[in-house]
Symmetry: C2
Subunit: 341 residues, 2 copies
């Protein structure tokens, strides 16, 4: 039954003794450092196998000044959210990006201030080499605490226009622009939008994209064409119902999330013949929900895989050279056309 207490395992020194070499050599073999005679290497490896030696990570950390681990932090109290493909895909791609590394990926839930405190000590204490932050809210002090502590940190999304921490984000304004432009190109003129909660930067960006597209086409956007939602399907339905009632002339809608787009579509169907023309709906793929529940919906797709990969790349670079300033990366979105628009 293996070792009794952790820390009872064989040490590098015992391996060295058994192999009849010095500790340094064993260390080199373990870390795949070049410059060890092949025969010696094999001798050492045999000794390692024989003793079932496993390096003590605490000692390695202490001596090597690195943890070989990175944390992926979720500041979202509601775990259900992590079933959303937006998150699960990102998590998966982060994991994949780490496959060739010897980094261990740790997921951590940080909601309460107690948890925040503990985690910051954990990170500052050197148990992770870097931190990835998902779903950060604007008021969350965690990013700055980590930055102040000098812990390499990369965020998914940004909290405001002048974010001072490295982040990776989809090109929200650009995506919205391309969606609305697409609607305009298909001949629509009265394009409304259902926005996300406007205290969120991502929602502001998408609204800006909507406005820019209309501007560039030299069209006037009636202020009453803009209705604020909260990213949920429910809010999309309500907003659409309101638009149908209040602005009967609209012939297209850009919804700032696919859930809201699905809701809008439902409201349209519910309204039935009361809506004379057919109204095109485009959503922004936040949850990939529409894609599952409403395959007819055209959406602006975010490059989730690439977001994860890029976050890891930036983080590794930042860890390598902690002198670099923060950097920002916006990733291009893609318009996925389907039946509805």
């Amino acid at each position: 039954m293996g070792k009794q207490r952790p820390g009872a395992g064989p040490t590098l020194e015992q391996v060295a003794a058994l192999a009849g070499v010095g500790r340094g050599t064993v260390s080199r073999v373990i870390n795949n450092v070049a410059g060890v005679k092949e025969s010696t290497r094999r001798t050492v490896q045999r000794a390692i196998a024989e003793l079932e030696y496993v390096p003590n990570l605490a000692a390695r950390s202490l001596a090597g000044h690195r943890a070989d681990a990175i944390a992926l932090v979720m500041t979202e109290p509601d775990w259900r959210k992590f079933a959303e493909p937006f998150f699960s895909e990102t998590i998966r791609s982060v994991g994949d990006a780490l496959t060739d590394t010897r980094m261990q990926l740790l997921l951590t839930q940080v909601c309460t201030s107690e948890e925040r405190k503990r985690f910051v000590e954990y990170a500052r204490g050197g148990r992770v080499d870097g931190v990835l932050l998902m779903s950060v809210h604007a008021e969350d002090p965690l990013p700055d605490m980590l930055a102040d502590a000098g812990v390499p940190t990369v965020m998914l999304g940004r909290r405001s226009g002048d974010e001072s921490i490295t982040y990776v984000d989809a090109d929200n304004a650009g995506g919205a622009r391309s969606a609305v432009t697409h609607l305009l190109n298909s001949g629509r003129r009265a394009v409304a939008t259902i926005t996300g909660p406007l205290d969120m930067y991502v929602a502001q960006c998408r609204l800006r994209g909507y406005r820019e597209a209309l501007d560039r086409a030299g069209l006037y956007a009636k202020p009453s064409w803009v209705v604020e939602g909260d990213f949920t399907e429910q809010s999309g339905r309500t907003a659409m119902a309101e638009l149908i009632e209040r602005e009967p002339e609209i012939d297209a809608v850009f919804a700032a999330s696919d859930s809201m787009a699905a809701g809008a579509l439902n409201a349209l169907r519910a309204a039935g013949r009361r809506v004379p023309r057919d109204v095109a709906v485009i959503g922004f793929d936040d949850f990939l929900l529409a894609q599952r529940t409403d395959p007819t919906l055209t959406t602006v797709r975010q490059p989730l895989q690439e977001i994860g990969r890029t976050m890891v790349r930036l983080l590794l670079e930042e860890m390598e050279d902690s002198g670099v300033a923060w950097r920002h990366v916006s990733l291009r979105t893609e318009l996925v056309l389907r039946d509805s628009a």
Copy 2:
């Protein structure tokens, strides 16, 4: 901008110097060890605050032979599953149970053999003091690898009847028995069951509970009343349709998951008037799904909060005294009555 490279922070020694005491004293203060004069303690704390000292966790681990962290491992490739309340509730309660501890909770995804290898090294390497395993499949070698390595481990659920690793589980047979007994008490006699995949131990237990209830009532269970599903709603619907067709006399159904129960209910409704009598349906709360989508459904509730708490308790005990043999805990389930039964 804090320290540049991790490891550049102030050390305990510097704190000691500033406070004008020995290192041992500082260590005692940090760890809240009794036997330090109050005035000294305050002096030290001031020095700690002044230097913004944070203990180096690697050094602490190395010297103290503990990591102050435990891992909660998910061996489930599909992240969507973790949105299921069954998991998210458990995760949350594990987190809560750890609040009063100084343990940091780490979630880890271990699907591929590459990930398994890395994680075992991580655990054996002493980066965690113990491991909690969720959703372990019967063929998964991870539990035994950890046990062999002497890492304290507690599983949620068991892989077979003679599990050799400490686990916490709901009383599946008992829950099923109480569900079926309830149906019998309400006068039903022809009670069918839709089982889970019978290569899973949990499904076997629930089927056993079903049989026992009928046995105890001195009733004969027609073999054709048992239909195998796979825990999904879809399979529940199919199974129920089959039962309606093939066994028109049944007047109640025990489904081994709430999803399947919901499916069964849907199938019943779809069949409409073709089913002469009203058929009672009871499910086993695996996903708390029915509760959201079908509030009328009576279910066997698993004590999720308690499962999490108990896992943590057992793990902490096992860490305390790694001499103890494995232990098993089955937690009582509760029948939650609603309209349908």
